[in-house]
Symmetry: C2
DNA sequence: GTCTATAGGCCGATAGAC
DNA sequence: GTCTATCGGCCTATAGAC
């Protein structure tokens, strides 16, 4: 993140193996339980090689999480421009967001960043910037456009985007983040999206304030 | 949690010192970075005494987090029965919830439980039960009563409670959980509560469905 | 750059005296 | 129950040969 750290080639095969192994283990077991020995073993590389590519466990962790945050930003953030049915458009955006938030890799990253954000202060800020804030600013822009086109009534697009996003982190999302079974079912996901869209649209149809 | 574990007196002074020290250190540094040596030092007790009261680091951690979860449940869950102004009532409930979610101890517990919920499966379930689920079931009951009294229109109180709760975990809440400065200001807190109440009420005034 | 081998330290947990 | 002292192990990181 702060230190790109490519002393050898960025695309060195061993380096790629190390990154892949570290990502898998950090996400599965967290920072504390993952040892450099285990990463070296998983990557089929000696520990010395590992340390030739990454100066410390901290730096390796920061690199892995930074990469993962970058991957989040690459998620298709396109919002339809030729909208006619607001309910369908919001349902589509909401469903994509909720499914993304519940995906295994996203959940793993969230747990890691929340767990270590105090020890690695840049991590939380980086995640927030490339994840939630990027998504919300795109959504706010889109909402503003829909509002300007008269398809919805929104006073403050930024606030509205934040609220729509929050509605897609209901108890279902908490349950998943806390690893409490059962895993979210298809029906639950769709019901939560529908409820979020309904509440949001009902409010926007009814009022002109924020 | 599962193992009450009081071999000596539950209220033994040394035991209390251990619990206090462990709670402070676990919440500040997390499970991995907190050592039994540090806890013993902080509690002014030998490590052998520590192990006389708690069989292992895991068990001590589970006890501390279980206690903390129990303390959450003790939060004043009273909802006004003699309500006239729904906006004021919801604002009061919302403000108490958001301030609670942002409190330092609550944040520390959330980080710990999210971080270790995979290694300690009972932890996530216990937290969910005594925290969010207890609150939401009380809120749902209260909303049902208000709906029955004709002060609001709610089809599914459980869904509505979940949504009101979700609206009180906006970006502001994420920022705090990720330890990203600045700390939430008074104005931000009140603005977020007001926005949540406005959206919720506008939707409930406008529709009869969920 | 990559290996084998190991330094050096801290950790969780225990033995044994009182 | 509480202490002092210590074990055995695993961890991060490095030295030195190739």
């Amino acid at each position: 993140m702060s230190t790109p750290s490519h002393p050898p080639h960025e695309a060195s095969p061993k380096r790629q193996a190390i990154v892949a192994a570290a990502a898998r283990l950090f996400m599965a077991d967290g920072y504390g339980k993952t040892s450099m020995d285990a990463i070296a073993r998983e990557a089929a590389v000696s520990k010395a090689t590992l340390y030739a590519h990454f100066a410390s466990k901290d730096q390796l962790f920061a690199t892995i999480v930074g990469d993962a945050c970058g991957r989040i930003a690459l998620q298709d953030g396109t919002f339809d421009t030729g909208v006619t049915d607001m309910r369908a458009a919001l349902a589509s955006i909401g469903e994509r967001l909720l499914r993304f938030l519940l995906a295994a890799e996203t959940q793993a990253i969230q747990r890691m960043v929340i767990a270590e954000s105090q020890r690695f202060p840049e991590l939380g800020a980086a995640f927030l910037a490339v994840g939630p804030q990027t998504f919300l600013s795109h959504l706010a822009e889109w909402l503003a456009a829909q509002s300007a086109a008269g398809r919805i009534r929104i006073a403050d697009p930024a606030v509205a985007a934040d609220q729509f996003g929050a509605l897609l982190r209901p108890l279902l999302f908490l349950r998943a983040l806390l690893s409490v079974p059962p895993a979210p079912s298809e029906a639950e996901i769709l019901a939560n999206v529908d409820a979020a869209v309904s509440l949001f649209l009902a409010a926007c149809a009814a009022r002109s304030e924020a």
